[in-house]
């Protein structure tokens, strides 16, 4: 099963193994990972599951939709080229050992 590593700005990391198809946001919220809020439950409406995806995994990510793009302009922590919403990243074999950095702020 895919494993997600959440790296905090403090340096701490959390590894979570989840079923394929689970979103990165849902994995974090279910396992109480600090810094991922997921207010809107995965509709891409709240911008509180913002993560920075490590560059080695960006090619395997789903394409950025217009909705996600506009929402990423509303994140509390700065948006960078690595920014994605965790709710839009569903775990798949291609993302087997994905590593993401959790922003210092979500609200």
């Amino acid at each position: 099963m895919p494993t997600i590593t959440f790296a905090q700005s403090s340096g701490a990391t959390t590894e979570i193994t989840v079923a394929e198809g689970t979103s990165l946001m849902r994995a974090a919220v279910t396992n109480s990972v600090d810094g991922i809020v997921g207010e809107c439950g995965g509709q891409g409406m709240c911008a509180t599951c913002h993560v920075y995806v490590r560059p080695e995994f960006t090619d395997q990510l789903p394409e950025l939709s217009d909705d996600e793009d506009e929402m990423l302009d509303c994140t509390t922590a700065e948006r960078t080229d690595s920014s994605r919403l965790g709710c839009q990243i569903k775990m798949s074999p291609a993302l087997m050992n994905i590593v993401v950095d959790v922003p210092a702020d979500q609200v």
Partner: protein
């Protein structure tokens, strides 16, 4: 942070591009006593001492006592369980399988029809998706902000024309938010006064626990007026599309019954809430001159003050859920079919999450509040509210009337618990 790339976007609401500054989190306060050991559970205590007039007058001391006793109480006066802890409210929001929004004998369904707010997924999502991009940040930035700014200038002119002693809510905040909502919905055949009347009449129906026939009659009349207005607008907007909700709905295979119910829910939930947040935020700032001075000197703090206001006095203080099975919620047993009130107004002042929670303090460490709800029913109008209140109204208001103050000769009144806001707010200047 391993990322060091430059910012690539600017939030249309706060204008922020960089990370916000926050203080370290508050130390958690000890959990309240719950009379259950691991593997067991307690029955909900009965709060026979809670009365609706007391809640209406000032619910917050009541919530303090309830939270300290138990996360959930049975409240005879309200005829439902009231859930007051942050953790319990949050658990409900994230679990629609056990906590259904599709309540039986719902007064809201009677007053407004069966809207998305009282549906569970997958039915809810069909309705929600039918609102398209009208309420999303991109449309707000490209389309609504300039309309909000124009509406705001007219409403502010009207307040100034009325002169010192004018009422901030009824002479300014209500007409402003009603006119915005009128255009968002697409009611080109109605006035902002119609929107205010429809909204209040149907909200009164939704809260008609006393089963007053006169309230039902007014609510039904408003509901019929909305039906007629929708029937007239749909063919017009199909031929003359704009950015409104009704325009988008005119071209979708959505049953008329759902369109009507969802629009009525939006009229009920899209007017009083931004009106009340605008008034409550300005009222709180006028009562805290040092915080007002900070907001005036740093435009980014308008958005912070807005969020703190929604936390401090959530405009929608309680909403219903119903258990689909026997559940144990934060150590309290609730039978299947229990009617719950999820009391956001109490959760947002839970001392286990927020330090000094009863105070309005824009400098508090930032934490997610529950004022917009959470999970699949997260408020669809969140970004519209942030835009029209924090981005458009507040900066222009304080620039145009820099010496705005509460009228010392006439006391403001804040009231309500299911919906809470200022019912009277005389202001002066000059």
């Amino acid at each position: 942070m391993s990322t060091s790339n430059a910012p690539t976007g600017v939030c249309p609401f706060s204008g922020a591009t960089g990370p916000a500054e926050t203080d370290p989190p508050a130390e958690p306060v000890a959990a309240p006593p719950i009379s259950a050991s691991p593997g067991t559970f307690a029955e909900a205590p009965v709060a026979g001492w809670v009365t609706i007039p007391d809640l209406y007058n000032d619910p917050f001391p009541i919530y303090q006592r309830m939270r300290a006793e138990s996360p959930v109480h049975w409240v005879p006066a309200v005829n439902r369980y009231m859930v007051t802890s942050y953790a319990a409210c949050h658990e409900i929001e994230q679990d629609e399988a056990r906590f259904s929004a599709d309540e039986n004998n719902s007064l809201m369904k009677r007053a407004m029809g069966h809207s998305m707010l009282r549906k569970d997924n997958p039915k809810h999502q069909v309705d929600r998706d039918s609102y398209g991009s009208t309420l999303r940040p991109g449309t707000i930035k490209k389309h609504w902000n300039q309309i909000f700014a124009s509406n705001h200038a007219k409403s502010l002119d009207a307040l100034i024309a009325k002169g010192p002693g004018a009422d901030f809510v009824w002479d300014y905040a209500a007409p402003y938010t009603a006119e915005n909502l009128r255009l968002i919905c697409g009611f080109h055949n109605a006035t902002q006064e119609d929107l205010q009347r429809w909204s209040q009449s149907m909200i009164d129906g939704t809260g008609n626990y006393a089963d007053d026939p006169e309230v039902w009659a007014k609510s039904a009349a408003a509901s019929e007026e909305v039906n007629a207005a929708i029937d007239e607008m749909l063919p017009y907007l199909a031929a003359n599309p704009d950015h409104s909700l009704l325009s988008g709905l005119a071209s979708l295979p959505i049953p008329l019954e759902a369109i009507r119910a969802n629009l009525k829910m939006t009229i009920g939930g899209g007017l009083n809430e931004p009106r009340d947040v605008l008034a409550t935020t300005v009222w709180a700032l006028l009562n805290h001159p040092e915080q007002l001075a900070a907001v005036k000197s740093d435009p980014k703090l308008h958005a912070v003050a807005f969020e703190e206001s929604v936390r401090w006095v959530a405009p929608i203080g309680m909403y219903p859920r119903e258990t689909t099975a026997d559940v144990v919620l934060e150590g309290v047993h609730l039978p299947k079919g229990s009617r719950l009130g999820v009391v956001l107004g109490a959760a947002n002042r839970d001392p286990r999450i927020f330090e000094d929670p009863e105070s309005f303090n824009i400098f508090r460490p930032k934490k997610p509040h529950l004022g917009f709800g959470g999970g699949v029913h997260f408020c669809a109008g969140t970004w519209i509210a942030r835009a029209q209140v924090a981005q458009i109204a507040m900066p222009a208001l304080f620039e145009r009337i820099p010496d705005l103050r509460l009228d010392p000769s006439s006391q403001s009144i804040d009231a309500g618990w299911v919906f809470r806001g200022l019912t009277k707010m005389p202001v002066t200047w000059g």
